[in-house]
């Protein structure tokens, strides 16, 4: 995989300037979002107090809120957003499919079904969702890809979306059956399946952190190889790329990232879809730039959506999964309508 990136076209001078500046701007936006996420809420807390709670903890209520609720929530939001953004970018690169996304491809339902099984079998809660979510995400991803890429033609966007939908239907049916049989399971899962950062313990982050970090590092190493894959399998092989190895590594990274994100925050739709498309507008197709952008923009989107969910309703909070669905679904539909899709 130690491969020099074959760039199709030399980046235009403007793009060469814009890319680093854009990434710095995005990082700045992420810092602002993180700061807002710690200060904004049902009880607004001034920045000075936030700083004090971290440096000189005095045990007051405000400090407690910051340290035990808002900081974990913000950190988890940043990590989950980055993971989803990266996972979406990887899936789109691997499948050469503009509609690839953990939700659409059934990975979320796979994780959800496995979590339901875990809740039934062990009465698991919180951090114990991690392993089942992984297994479920992995199985669903493999199943959908196998079904979608059946036959001589490669997995087209429509096929993968349909395969994901079909799998989702079956798994939803089974999940609903479990709901009817066991009210306790329903009570647990209905809060988990929305996709939320509320009330997540910092322990959850420690549980998923090793997987997240491995996934992120693996992904960032894959950039040059994915550039080669983008040229098509034959050309990439001619250039010396080990296609099966690249695909396998990408799949492992996707499963690590999706599984960790879903375990930490529940199934969240459309972040993985929207973010790579937004990033591509700035970076162009070069994966070495696209991937870091996807990570940062994913984190920005998720924290921003979380903040929006906190302020949009006067009395209560809107879960982040609902906000992202309402931001992402229109974009999905716009993509489906676009000329590019019509030719796929």
């Amino acid at each position: 995989m130690a491969l020099r990136a074959p760039t199709l076209t030399r980046p235009t001078p403007t793009r060469r300037v814009i890319r680093p500046i854009g990434l710095l701007t995005a990082l700045g936006a992420l810092a602002v979002c993180a700061l807002l996420s710690v200060t904004v809420g049902t009880k607004p807390i001034p920045v000075a107090d936030v700083w004090a709670s971290l440096t000189a903890y005095d045990g007051s209520y405000d400090h407690d809120v910051i340290r035990s609720l808002r900081v974990p929530r913000t950190v988890i939001g940043v990590f989950v957003g980055a993971a989803l953004g990266l996972a979406g970018a990887l899936m789109q690169a691997l499948t050469r499919n503009p509609l690839a996304e953990p939700g659409i491809l059934g990975v979320n339902s796979g994780a959800a079904a496995a979590v339901v099984i875990a809740v039934i079998a062990f009465g698991a809660g919180g951090a114990a969702y991690v392993w089942p979510a992984f297994v479920g995400a992995a199985l669903a991803a493999v199943a959908v890809y196998a079904l979608g890429s059946r036959g001589r033609a490669s997995a087209t966007p429509v096929r993968l979306a349909l395969a994901g939908t079909a799998l989702t239907v079956v798994l939803q049916g089974l999940i609903h059956g479990a709901f009817v049989l066991n009210e306790f399971v329903f009570d647990r899962i209905r809060f988990w399946q929305v996709g939320s950062l509320t009330g997540r313990d910092i322990d959850v982050l420690w549980q998923v952190a090793p997987f997240l970090v491995t996934g992120v590092v693996l992904t960032l190493c894959l950039g040059p190889s994915l550039n080669a894959v983008a040229l098509g399998d034959d050309l990439a092989a001619t250039l010396g790329a080990n296609i099966p190895l690249i695909r396998a590594a990408t799949a492992v990274a996707v499963i690590l990232l999706c599984g960790a994100a879903t375990a930490a925050a529940g199934p969240i739709w459309f972040v993985g879809l929207v973010v790579p498309h937004a990033a591509r507008v700035i970076t162009g197709p070069d994966q070495r730039w696209l991937l870091p952008y996807a990570a940062v923009l994913g984190a920005v989107l998720l924290t921003a959506a979380d903040i929006l969910g906190r302020v949009v309703l006067p009395s209560s909070e809107l879960e982040v999964g609902i906000v992202t669905a309402f931001v992402g679904a229109p974009l999905f539909i716009a993509l489906v309508r676009s000329r590019r899709m019509a030719q796929l």
Binding site: A161, L162, A163, A166, V169, G173, L174, H176, W269, A325
Partner: protein
């Protein structure tokens, strides 16, 4: 359309034949009424009717309170032990009849939707009708806490609205099959998050009730529901059947159909409205039971081996499917009663996977 599911083309039959092999024309009233009768279709339809009747009798007889089969006909007519009569007339018969009516309505409506979109996936499940109906009903249940009639109306309104929105969003130089399906997936995902939100904001009991309604169930359906769905079938079914020939012409393509003298837009609008109303009625009675509308027309077409859609066959197939699914749902984990929608989703979804699997096996893009 390369990625949508084309009607199955078996080896050995040529697609372009106009007079199907092994069929004969039935002419009545001196040419005024002529029907093309294919013995195979006839046999399949009869077999499906028999199957439905058989399962009806079985599902009336089995249960935690078992009634011997030979006592069933008497109990249906009102004779025999009082408890037998109560269970048969009061509980099990209306439930089974509702299942047959709802299944038939979904089957025929699904056939129309698929025929219009020329796409096996153009069923109300995929294009967002079902999802919209579920969202409408859950909103009524959890936000307004209203009763059954209001819930049904909410479901119909939600379904129609969503289907219209999906249809409009998918429109761009006409509606193409795959775009309709993908837009449906997007809109359904959005509505799903609305439902999830509402479910988390309600008390557990209310949320559970809403959840079960959303799955679709025939538990506790009585004669009122039987009347509702069968009256709709009797009124709207013939309208669709009368348009059946035009629908088949339209499957050949709009231009061809127009050339054959079909006023395509009027036909399209009529059958779309009627099929939507039938779907709405079915959902209002039993909740959004999934995948009958998707699977029934496809299965019927495969069994009868017709090139196009068969409305009667789809209706009978839908009825048979749902009455069987409901029997399975009642008895699979007895004494726990599963909602029929769980069974249809698992079976229907598996069928969809199988459908995709076989359609793509040949490497057709």
């Amino acid at each position: 359309m390369s990625d949508t599911l084309a009607p199955p083309r078996r080896p050995g039959t040529s697609g372009g034949r106009t007079t199907p092999r092994g069929s004969f024309a039935l002419r009545l009233f001196g040419e005024r009424l002529s029907l093309l009768v294919r013995p195979r279709t006839l046999v399949v339809c009869l077999a499906l009717t028999l199957l439905s009747a058989l399962v009806l009798v079985v599902s009336v007889s089995v249960g935690d309170y078992a009634i011997p089969l030979r006592a069933v006909p008497g109990a249906i007519a009102g004779y025999g032990e009082r408890l037998d009569v109560f269970f048969v007339q009061g509980v099990r018969l209306p439930r089974a009849l509702t299942a047959i009516g709802v299944g038939a309505a979904l089957g025929i409506a699904g056939a129309v939707f698929q025929s219009l979109s020329r796409n096996a996936l153009g069923s109300p499940d995929i294009i967002g009708f079902t999802s919209g109906a579920a969202t409408g009903a859950v909103t009524v249940i959890l936000v307004f806490g209203a009763g059954r009639v209001a819930v049904s109306l909410g479901a119909i309104a939600g379904g129609l609205l969503t289907a219209a929105v999906v249809y409009l969003l998918a429109m761009k130089n006409g509606v193409q099959g795959y775009r309709l399906v993908l837009v449906g997936i997007g809109v359904s995902a959005m509505l799903g998050s609305v439902r999830d939100y509402l479910l988390t904001r309600a008390e557990l009991t209310d949320a559970m009730g809403a959840q079960i309604w959303m799955i679709g169930s025939l538990n506790g359906r009585g004669w009122g529901e039987v009347a509702a769905v069968w009256v709709c079938l009797a009124l709207l079914g013939p309208v669709l059947l009368a348009q059946g020939k035009r629908l088949r012409f339209m499957e050949l393509g709009e231009d061809t159909a127009r050339g054959l003298g079909v006023s395509t837009q009027a036909t399209q609008l009529t059958v779309l409205a009627v099929a939507s109303a039938l779907t709405g009625a079915a959902i209002a009675v039993a909740g959004p039971i999934g995948f009958i509308a998707l699977a029934a027309p496809q299965l019927a077409r495969r069994l009868t081996r017709t090139g196009g859609t068969t409305l009667v066959g789809s209706a009978l197939m839908g009825a048979a499917l749902l009455v069987v699914a409901d029997l399975v749902a009642q008895r699979a984990l007895a004494p726990v009663q599963l909602p029929a929608g769980v069974v249809t989703a698992v079976i229907g979804g598996s069928y969809l996977i199988w459908l995709l699997y076989t359609e793509w096996r040949g490497g057709r893009a």
